[in-house]
Amino acid sequence: MNIWAPRASASTTQSAALAVAAVVMLVPAYTLPVMHLGILGQHSADTTIFSGVVQLWQQGLGGLAAIVFTASFLVPLLKLLGLAWLLLAANREKFRRRRPRLLTRIYGAVDFIGRWSMLDVFLVAFLCGAVQFGQLASVQPRPGVAAFGAVVLLTMLATHRFDPRLLWVDVPATPRTT
């Protein structure tokens, strides 16, 4: 029987709830358009996160496409996988006992990479604020950017709520040391 201290339980429960909400929001984030680009005399189109990466690639900007792909696809997925592993380890003794140092490093990595997913949100915000030439050229946000922004904020909150000390409960602390 697990006897969880209230705070430990609250930490994992809240973190798990936020992570699950982020997973749910991933679907509209990746399928709905994030912005609409309209230019006079040219085809105006909605852009999803994936089609934005493809456009950069087709323009010959492979490096930028890789950056956007990493920040928009890999980072959120890796964050959620890392969080899932950490939550599993915090709840199951056999997962955490053998490698709390590794798990703590994973927590540090998830904490560090979290903010870089905001890249696409800043990108769309800047374009929407900057490209406002009326009929000539304009960029408007679409619901996908709200879903993607929610994914980023929810995963950051989930990481923030997770208490990494839960990974060390089985390892006795060394006496107070210098």
């Binding site: 705070r7 430990a8 946000p141």
Partner: protein
Amino acid sequence: MQPDEPFVTCPLCGQTHAAPFLKPGQRASCVRCGSLLAEAGHLGPQAPLVFACTGLVLAVPALLLPFVTLSKFGKERTVLLTDGFLGFWTHGFAPFGAAVLIAGTIAPFGLLGLLAALYVLGKRNPAPALLPRLRHWAHQVEYWAMPEVQILGVLVAFFKLGSVVNVTIGPGLYCYGGSSLFTLMAWRSFKLRPRERRPFRAAAVATS
């Protein structure tokens, strides 16, 4: 580095340590989990204040001067730092506009103000509860400050815009870049204790 308090508790594993005295360039790591607890910079004790104040000075032109200038078919448009927020706000995405404003503008500049206040108040022996509270706020604000991500987003936008409109970088963007760099340097060099977490009743977590 002379510690403020006698003990430092690792925020990642809960191990308590006697606060270390560090020489310039030295780092202190947790004996249990290996995470970095404290770091003493090479640049002297006033460097964090210098970085924070420089960042704050640069924040003013970053807010007021043109970020970029765009032109299309003879029409010209000057964009300010806060126009990203307005772009979301005016199209009905107010909460996300607010998130962009907080992460890209309010939190970075607020962090600089908090770091400068921490340094100045730390020299003047304020009320005992004030400094820990300010430190706590500095950590909270730092988590949501993302100026470097905003700069990368704007740079990617330049390449996307290259085929649509003509783009000229304005002085506001250079000042914002400088302010972001000094925010990072001030945060790295500031004598801060690790992120504080509420006491954790680890002993109550047991299996049977």
